[in-house]
Amino acid sequence: MQLSHQKRGRYLLVTTSGRLDAAWADHFSKSMQEHIRQGEHHLLLDAAGMEFLSSAGIRSIVQLIKSVKSVNGSFQLVKANDFVKQTLTMTGFGGWLSDDLPEDIQELKSDQGIEPGDGFETFKLDESVGLMISIPAKWKPWQSFREGDAVRIRFQKNSFALGIGSPVQATDADTSMMGEFLAVAGNTVHQPPREDEDPDFLLAEKEYLPEMHCMQALHCNGEMSHVLRFAPSGKKLYFGLGEIAEKVLTVTNSELAAFVILAEIDGLVGSYIIKSPGQIHQGQKMEFPGAREWLSFCGERMYARQQALVFGIAARTPDDLKPALMSASGKYEGLFLHSHATVFPYQPMEAGKINLKDATWKFFNGSPPLALYHLVEDLRPLTGLGESAFIRGACWCAPIINGKEDLPWE
């Protein structure tokens, strides 16, 4: 079987020739899924050259349609010969068939050239809204910690947060379980402080609101004002975390903003706690090699082609005004960041101006998260892993609208 494709307006026209049978179904599925991954959500299959279609082939098309529908796309099979038509009609899949190309398809190839701009597309949601930030728990590495210092936080459905804590349980705060977490629209993912354990999660469903005992928390409440979409264009193949954060500050026209990124990963760079800092009773200096008992560093760029959900806070301040619990970017002058990322198995996302709660829920409701990282910018000469970067996705953001004197910095 041979497949070739052509971009025609919003459609991708895939021309097939040969047999779509058990021997080729897997190859067909893989190449079509790759098109969807690259943002082609409206697929036309030109079946003029398709000689044979078996049930294995039909099954691969059913899977394809499922994927396309999940991102609000479309699929049609055009110009099929009589044999293929008959097979599909008799098996009850006649609905896929169409004799002609859709009316709105353009005659000529298009969208093949380099798109203008920086690869970002900005949609305004509601410019009058923003987020209020609070820092209810202020532990800093590696201060000593007392059990009573943990603060219990209930995440509302408009809560966005990151920090270090443990899920609330029947007994008092469990200081042996303090690990990184992030909360997006109330849904909370928590990394237990163990090297081998997968993250756990608490979903804000119906009446239930996730609760955490936090020793450190940056907690925002409110609504997002913008959504940015980004995708590779021309020679631009990926988007660094710092670059997205800069864009967020520009778009929200603020010096302090929060953002949620949901995107396909190019590579994540970060670390996570593997020994609960809740068990530090005396001030401890994290020096090598002792630090290796407390933190796990990724060592290489991780989780390419999976999906990241990031919550972060970005600030632009002069160097002498370091905001609490934020670290300075080495790459972008005057940029301060603190962000946590959780990783989900890849699923395609809808195009355009999408809703944060729906888009992220699809992931929370799917396969469980694979990892959770405190993101780090690694600019070591020669061996540095760089910063985390993403290929395509969405970034919701909003300015933080606390009054200047109302900011929780110390």
């Binding site: 800093k140 590495p141 090297e195 081998d196 670390s271 994290m286 020096e287 090598f288 090699p289 630090a291 290796r292 933190l295 796990s296 560093f297 990724c298 060592g299 290489e300 619990l325 934020m326 670290s327 603190h338 405190h374 780090v376 910018e377 690694d378 070591r380 061996t383």
Partner: protein, 270 residues
């Protein structure tokens, strides 16, 4: 049982090629247990086996096999107690001699030799019976030179020879690595059968995670001359290939966490 204490070995000490192959390995292997040794390339697994077999003298540390201190025993003396199967199917047998002659020698390991006929009719029958258990049809070829057999057949025979006189310890050094996948699976199955039937105490170096999970009752993982993981009892029963791969990744990740990373995290962990 085998007791290894603080075993160290450095090859080419004091030169640019210095390799600290064993850095104080301490290990106790119970009687009748079958232990797999896995690890990255150059982690010291084969060195550990060779040290036990006596291929070289250890720099420091001690080894005790069933109550006898064997640390200073030469290799040939240890061979009375220890059976070995090597990675190379051509090692461990004498290519020019027949199957029967090779086995005949294995049957008299450690005994005095005389000029009488070695392969009597009775011995031949015994050999034939045991070779039959390999289910490779080799019992009809007892007079063929062993060099005419395939690698898999030779490896199966080596295994049989190494265990003919029940050794106190059986050492398998990647003994299926040079075989094609199907033969490797057969030799692995044979290994399990013989070890279970004869209730042998065995150590096996392997690169196959699947083999490490399937065959033995204990897995130790080595890295840079140290034992970094020890799966036994319940933990071994629960261990899957994915767990072992995760353990490998963890070990490698730890290697990448150097002082420059610690410095980086000190600045950025806020």
């Amino acid at each position: 049982m085998l007791k290894i204490k603080e075993l160290c070995k450095t090859f080419s000490p004091g030169t640019v090629n210095e390799v600290r192959a064993l850095r104080g390995v301490t290990l106790e292997i119970q009687e009748g247990s079958f232990t797999a040794v896995i690890g990255t390339n150059g982690s010291g697994k084969s060195t550990l086996l060779n040290a036990v077999a006596g291929s070289f003298e250890a720099d420091s540390g001690s080894m005790e096999l069933f109550g006898r201190i064997i640390t200073n025993w030469p290799e040939h003396k240890r061979a009375l107690l220890i059976g070995r199967v090597f990675q190379n199917p051509f090692a461990g047998t004498a290519a020019g001699m027949t199957i029967a002659e090779n086995i005949g020698m294995a049957m008299r390991r450690g005994q005095r030799w005389s000029l009488r006929t070695a392969i009597t009719k009775r011995v031949r029958e015994e050999i034939s019976d045991k070779v039959k258990t390999l289910k490779m049809g080799l019992e009809d070829r007892l007079d063929n030179p062993i060099g005419t057999l395939s690698g898999g057949q030779r490896q199966a025979l080596t295994l049989l020879m190494a265990t003919w006189l029940k050794p106190q310890l059986l050492l398998l050094d990647e003994h299926t690595a040079a075989l094609d996948p199907k033969t490797a699976a057969k030799v692995a199955e044979l290994t399990r059968e013989i070890i279970t039937r004869e209730k042998l105490t065995a150590m096996m170096v392997t690169h196959s995670m699947q083999q490490a999970v399937d065959l033995p009752d204990r897995i130790i993982m080595m890295h840079k001359g140290n034992i970094v993981e020890d799966y036994k009892d319940e933990m071994k029963a629960r261990a899957r290939v994915s767990d072992l791969i995760k353990a490998f990744e963890r070990v490698q990740k730890l290697d990448l966490f150097d002082s420059s990373v610690a410095e980086l995290l000190e600045q950025q962990y806020v």
